[in-house]
């Protein structure tokens, strides 16, 4: 049943909370009014096999280690982000090492990837589901620091919820004005074919063949 416009206006109070909480409140309000996520968006959400909420993902810890570019030649997957992360890389040898979120970055010095510079840290924010590739001409040492950004994932989730709710809002208005939609009557019957009572005519009539000479 469509919500009445008066209650909708009452529900949208001025946002006096923190931005993240405000967006969450706004998204909850809209989603309670009928906003739904597309299947693609739903697949992008964190796994909820155990029923946990996105806030539970804050238990992820910061990781730091040394990575060696032992695979030389073609590009290799360096990191696959299963959540939003901030990744900091610092080349500790002379290189050359190129990185990119695209796989086609060879040759290393071609400029298709970003060349790491010795002793200069470089920082990226990787969204969930993205991958980082590297390509190297020899064995190098790269210092890696990975920090999870769970609030970015929550924020992304809330923004998507809000966007989904806002895109569904005109439909809800129209539904509220026109009343509930009639149930579908199914597809219309075909207008051609044998089952329609209007069979196709043959272009060449079927007749008895003549006598062969």
């Amino acid at each position: 049943m469509a919500p009445p416009l008066r209650s909708l206006r009452r529900g949208l109070r001025p946002l006096t909370l923190l931005p993240g909480q405000a967006i969450e409140t706004f998204a909850d309000k809209l989603s309670s009014m009928g906003g739904r996520l597309s299947p693609e968006m739903a697949r992008a959400l964190p796994d909820s096999k155990g029923g946990e909420e996105p806030k539970d993902l804050q238990r992820w810890r910061t990781d730091a280690y040394e990575m060696f570019t032992t695979e030389i030649g073609p590009s290799k997957v360096f990191y696959s982000a299963d959540q939003w992360v901030k990744i900091e890389l610092m080349l500790e040898t002379a290189g050359p090492v190129a990185i990119s979120t695209r796989a086609e970055i060879t040759p290393v010095l071609s400029g298709r990837g970003r060349l790491l510079i010795t002793n200069i840290p470089i920082e990226y924010i990787l969204p969930k589901g993205s991958r980082l590739y590297y390509a190297a001409e020899n064995i190098n040492r790269v210092g890696v620091k990975i920090e999870p950004i769970p609030w970015a994932e929550q924020l992304s989730l809330e923004i998507r919820r809000a966007a989904a709710a806002l895109t569904g809002l005109p439909e809800r208005f129209v539904t509220a004005l026109r009343g509930p939609r009639k149930p579908d009557a199914g597809p219309p019957p075909p207008k051609t074919g044998l089952s329609s009572g209007n069979p196709l005519k043959r272009l060449t009539p079927i007749g008895k063949p003549g006598k062969m000479l």
């Binding site: 040898t93 002379a94 040759p107 010095l109 010795t118 190297a136 001409e137 020899n138 064995i139 190098n140």
Partner: protein, 305 residues
């Protein structure tokens, strides 16, 4: 024949080192060292006997996929800048990876033998092997010293025969690499009761032919009852404007000669060389049997003091 071994570049990277160091004796003039890691600077290390080393690398700037570019590295001329070892890139038509190669520019003769006459052949010869010390900076660009560390050799109890034999003169040759060294200090502790002569030569090697060394001078020590310490200092810039001395020859009839140098048009200097040869020869007319021993302390320096 044992091929030269060298530390691998990947071990230095995987072992969290900040530099790759190639430090080992040079076995032949054809030794080539492979560097599999890119570097930020290549320079001569503190313990190197060699003063000049040549680099050959794949040059991305040349646009010629068959060109190998050369660069020389010397004690006061390091290669500063990123030099890539491109293992995934191959020279066109060769299939060889574009790694960095290093080899000595200085001529190395591990078995140098001083040319002598038939009766002045030394009974013994010791060749001190030349060391290569090449440092490749992997991470930080260091403050590179343009001088090698002083090199000290201590040779206690160097023997020489008190009398010549059938095929030799009983002497001992000591061949020391001094590539590009500018100053040599020698402390010579002589034995007792044996008259002997210590001669000093320098040799600038040439490819493919025996090199006659340059005679610097000699010291004749008479038979004494106590040991004596003599000090010899040789600087590359020492002038020979007027000098008297005795030289040795390859002529068996006249093995020594006296010479005088005065007012030459170009002031001759001792100069730089590759090898220092010290010959200790018995000169006793009535030699005691057996052999005698000399203690040598030799200090090489890149700077004159």
């Amino acid at each position: 024949m044992t091929l030269p071994t060298q530390p691998g570049s990947p071990e230095s990277v995987l072992g969290n080192q900040e530099y790759l160091r190639i430090f080992q004796p040079v076995l032949s003039p054809g030794d080539i060292y492979e560097i599999d890691s890119s570097t930020r600077a290549i320079y001569i290390g503190p313990n190197s006997d060699l003063a000049e080393i040549r680099l050959a690398y794949y040059d991305k700037q040349s646009r010629d996929p068959t060109l190998m570019t050369l660069a020389d590295v010397s004690v006061n001329g390091p290669f500063v800048g990123r030099l890539d070892s491109l293992l995934a890139t191959q020279y066109q038509g060769l299939g060889q990876p574009g790694r960095i190669l290093a080899y000595p520019v200085d001529i190395v003769d591990p078995a140098y033998e001083r040319p002598t006459g038939p009766t002045t052949v030394p009974a013994r010869r010791y060749n001190v092997p030349a060391q290569i010390d090449l440092i490749c900076a992997l991470k930080d660009l260091p403050s590179i010293p343009e001088v090698r560390a002083d090199r000290t050799y201590r040779f206690p109890r160097v023997p020489f025969n008190n009398d010549g034999g059938m095929d030799d003169d009983g002497s001992t040759d000591l061949v020391i690499p001094i590539y590009g060294r500018r100053m040599v200090t020698i402390q010579l502790i002589t034995p007792v009761l044996t008259e002997h002569e210590t001669s000093f030569f320098i040799a600038a090697l040439q490819p493919g032919q025996p090199v006659e060394p340059k005679f610097l001078g000699s010291i004749v020590t008479p038979s004494q009852s106590v040991t004596n310490t003599q000090t010899i200092v040789y600087r590359a810039s020492d002038q020979w404007s007027s000098r008297f001395g005795d030289g040795v020859t390859a002529d068996p009839v006249m093995p020594t000669y006296s010479y005088t140098e005065v007012n030459q048009p170009l002031a001759p200097a001792k100069g730089l060389a590759d090898l220092l040869i010290i010959n200790i020869r018995p000169t006793d007319q009535d030699p005691p049997p057996g052999y005698s021993l000399v203690d040598l302390f030799i200090k090489l320096s890149d700077r004159e003091a």
